[in-house]
Symmetry: C2
Subunit: 219 residues, 2 copies
């Protein structure tokens, strides 16, 4: 019985890692579609997001079944409830990748990336890529040194995000209002993506160490 239970917990864990990897792939394609105005790739991300949503629902159902059948306590209980939270964050990250792809599709054949912000968005994309890769790795290995790395990347994204808003509000901005909106939304999607990555990393850290690293409310 105990062995079955440990295997069930393991399978929830493996599913979380798998969902994180699906989100990483979705983000990759979304960024590519956004940067190169590739509408087919955007369409692919949008279609495949349903698969991530389905995987999340399935994981949640399984976690609830385990709660019902095994009545776990202490750290196992927290791990299971934590999995529900983390799967919700990962699912939201998948949604945000889809939103980026939807922006690309909406503007096609134009690009949704304003010329003057190409470098900024390239850096944001790079940081989000590293965040989801690190989140997947952290979920798999529980290597807590990744937590600080994820938070560092998030801090840089916050600065870039603020910079995008300053650029739009600046009198030297020459793009159309619609392009300003695209840039603001894309920037917000990248920023939110990073934020959810931090939430997951904090949750893993809490489950491993039993201690919060600070701000409980943003989990």
């Amino acid at each position: 019985m105990r062995k079955v239970f440990q295997e069930e917990l393991k399978s929830v864990h493996d599913d979380l890692v798998e969902i994180a990897r699906l989100v990483a792939t979705a983000l990759d394609k979304a960024i590519e579609s956004f940067q190169s105005a590739d509408v087919d790739l955007a369409q692919e991300v949008i279609a495949e997001d349903a698969r991530i949503d389905f995987r999340q629902s399935a994981l949640d159902e399984r976690a609830i079944d385990i709660l019902a059948l095994q009545g776990p306590v202490a750290s196992d209980l927290r791990t299971l409830v934590g999995s529900l939270r983390m799967s919700a964050s990962l699912e939201r990250m998948g949604d945000l990748a889809r939103h980026v792809a939807q922006l690309a599709r909406l503007r096609f054949p134009e690009s949704a990336v304003p010329e003057s912000l190409t470098k900024t968005f390239a850096r944001m994309a790079e940081l989000d890529r590293s965040i989801i890769a690190d989140v997947a790795e952290l979920l798999e290995t529980h290597d807590l040194s990744l937590v600080a790395k994820i938070q560092g990347a998030n801090a840089e994204i916050d600065d870039l995000h603020a910079g995008v808003f300053r650029a739009i509000a600046d009198s030297s901005w020459t793009g159309s209002p619609a392009l300003a909106v695209d840039a603001a939304l894309a920037s917000r999607y990248f920023e939110r993506f990073a934020d959810h990555g931090v939430s997951v990393s904090r949750k893993v850290s809490y489950l491993v160490t039993g201690e919060w690293d600070g701000d409980m409310t943003s989990n």
Copy 2:
């Protein structure tokens, strides 16, 4: 023992209703600060959001304690896990009210509402107000007739949201790019707020009837 357990479930339920009412108050003030560029009121919403976050954390901790100590099964288990989900949605709705207030504070002493969209935003605000009032009522009474009403309001908000984006992209738009961004973000906050309201209403409906009304992925 059984009686204590029922009382514990009841207290989680009461807390959810209470949080929904706090969110309703936050939204009221956020809308007022947004429409009248009242920076003090905006500041109040921003400060009070921490209280909603705290209430959510406390509720979640309690739900987890109940899971650990009582090992509930079947519908009680689903209700508790559902409460964790609903509290997360309500907390996000509080965040969105805060985001609206932050927009108001950011633009002060200017207004963040473009003149040409005053009526649209007034209607969105009215719909979101009715949604959170109905969500609180639904949580309290389980009157499922409110679910369709909430969904109807959400559908109208979706239309208004699309209209805001069309207005910004239209060649007749005369506002600055920064104002376009404010309008787009505010519109998105109102739309997301409604969406989370629908999620909560679906979850209540599921817990009461045992059946999903459709799209499982958006819960």
